[in-house]
Every structure is written in C-alpha cells, then in structure tokens.
C-alpha cells in the first residue's frame, strides 16, 4: 500500500482502471450477464474453457458481451494438476490470442482449494512460455512470494472457498500476504457481499474478483453496482488516510464544560 490507492492498477504491463474483476459463470442469461458486467465497470472478465457441445447448442453465456470493450482472462478451472492447467492455458491462448491466464489447479472437488505445489509448477512453465500468469492460491504468504519470484503478474489469494460467499476467513494471514507481496494482490473467491470486497481493499488488496455473489443475486446488475461502489469506497478510504483504532473510547465531544462541578 505504498502507492496512492487511487492510482490505476498495472498488471503485466497493462493499466487497469477498475479494481473489480468479474467472473462470468452462473448468470441466468447472457443478457443479464452483460448488464452486470457493464454495471460493474470491470475491464477484466474471466471465462472458462470447456469442450464444445456436440449434441446441442451448449453454453452461449458469452454471446451478449462486446469483447472489444473487455480484456479476457481465461481460467484453467477444472485442472487437477500442472499438466492439465498448462494444456488448458495453451488452448485458451489458441482460442482468443490472449496470453493472460488465471491459473487454477483445484484437485479437491469439495472445497476447490488450490494445490500450491502444482500451481507453482504450472506457473513456472507458463511464464517461460510467455504467459501473463495470475495464480489462484490459498492465503499463503510464502507461496505468494515464490510465485512472484518465478514471474507471476499477480497473486490471487482466496477469501474463502469458491462460491461460498463467506468473506475473508483468513484475514490476518491475508494482511501478512499483502504486507510481503511484491506483485499486485487480487482477492478472489468467497467474497459474498460488497462489505467483504471493501474489507479486502481496505486491508490493502490491489483488486478483487467477484462472480457468484453477483451472478446469483436476484438483481445481478444492481449487485454489481453495489460491489463497484464498495471497491471505490474502500479505495477512497485508503487514500484518505484512515484514523487509527483503539480498544477504549476516545471522546469525540469536549470533556469540559459539563453541567456539573468540574473535578
């Protein structure tokens, strides 16, 4: 948190005006998704790579989005080890030409927690192949440093498990990770309400990535606006220089001139 909190975020040499990244999964329709992306002000939008359906129309969720206005961030979701992640990243690059990839290696289907060992292996290979790598990780400050050392553009620690909407479950560790990070920190996964996103940014995170909380809301566009406002509020608060906290009261009103005899 050494630079001005209101300055643009630079990732992999690219300046991003919005510090809210959006996922495109789980929306009820392409139109609703496009409206939510628009309302969020996001520039960076994640997508997944899947087999083309041979039997039906398949997923057309991305059909309503104007791709000239957004930067695509393909993920490697579904990958269970480094080999699978590298394969998906290469296919994503072949499909759209971007060298950006959100590296996800999640062998555990229950909690979808990231495998740090495989993630580091895949990151090393992808960086060597010229990818801009944004790895999804557990809140592990040491792993975050290792990933930065091999050339990752950011680290993306989770708030809580993907889609769980439980907010920052490892707040203190996240603070350490942010304090020690040498690349931008994007808090990803589990941000269920705008207050969670604001908390992450206030703690010093450079950006947040939100999907489920917006996509599954009754009014996704309105929720997207709420997250945008929360991120902006937290950035302004950081720039404003927050007052310190204390365990005991510090009176806001004068402690003199009471309607009784002064001691």
């Amino acid at each position: 948190m050494t630079v001005s909190s209101l300055s643009p975020l630079v990732v992999g040499g690219v300046t991003l005006r919005s510090r809210l990244f959006l996922g495109t999964g789980k929306f009820p329709s392409p139109g609703v998704m496009a409206a939510a992306v628009e309302a969020s002000g996001a520039e960076l939008v994640t997508v997944a790579v899947r087999r083309l359906s041979l039997t039906g129309p398949g997923d057309d969720m991305l059909s309503a989005l104007d791709w000239t206005r957004y930067r695509l961030l393909p993920n490697t979701s579904g990958a269970r080890d480094a080999d699978e992640a590298v394969r998906v990243a290469r296919l994503a690059r072949a499909a759209c030409g971007t060298t950006w990839v959100k590296l996800e290696v999640t062998p555990d289907p229950n909690y979808l927690l990231p495998d740090g060992v495989e993630t580091l292996k895949a990151a090393e290979r992808l960086v060597k192949e010229g990818f801009t790598v944004l790895p999804y990780i557990n809140v592990d400050p040491v792993l975050a440093r290792r990933l930065a050392e091999v050339g990752c553009a950011t680290v993306m620690p989770l708030a809580s498990p993907i889609g769980s909407n439980r907010g920052l479950q490892a707040r203190d560790l996240l603070g350490i990770l942010i304090e020690q990070a040498t690349v931008p920190v994007v808090v990803d996964a589990g941000l269920g309400m705008p207050s969670h996103a604001a908390e992450a940014i206030e703690l010093g995170a450079d950006a947040v990535l939100v999907n489920t909380a917006i996509a599954v809301a009754e009014d996704p566009a309105l929720m997207a606006r709420a997250f945008k406002a929360a991120v902006e509020a937290a950035l302004m608060a950081r720039a404003a220089g927050p007052a310190g906290s204390s365990r005991t009261a510090r009176a806001s009103s004068p402690l003199t001139g009471f309607l009784r005899a002064e001691a």
């Binding site: 996922g23 495109t24 999964g25 789980k26 929306f27 998704m33 994640t46 997508v47 997944a48 790579v49 899947r50 087999r51 083309l52 041979l54 398949g58 997923d59 969720m61 991305l62 695509l72 393909p74 993920n75 979701s77 394969r87 290469r90 296919l91 994503a92 072949a94 499909a95 759209c96 993907i162 889609g163 990803d188 996964a189 990535l209 999907n211 489920t212």
Partner: protein
Amino acid sequence: MEVTVNGTQRHLAEGQTLADLLAELGAAPEHVAVEHNGAILDRADFPGLVLRPADRLEIVRFVGGG
C-alpha cells in the same frame, strides 16, 4: 471412417477437413481452439487439415466461468 471428437466416436466421410467438421457442428472457427492428436492447431490450418481415421480431436470454446 471413425474419429474421436471430444471423447466421442464420430463417423466422417473420407477427405473431410477440420473446417468441414466445424461447419457440421455449427461451430465458428474463430470461437474455438482445436487439439489434433495432442497438438494445438493454428486457426489458419483448419481448412487445410484433412482428417484421417482414428484421429483424436479436442474442440474447446469459452463458456461463462469465474
């Protein structure tokens, strides 16, 4: 002839190209990536790639995801 497309056996006419197959599947070439016998192809190679018996193809596209 038989080829494997996305893990499923599929019958194709002899001489069919990858571009023909994509058209048959209703897939716009600019929206997919293709792995042919384990190697990822350049899009420019789709029209000229004549498929052969027992070829393995993985055809992927982007979908909504976080």
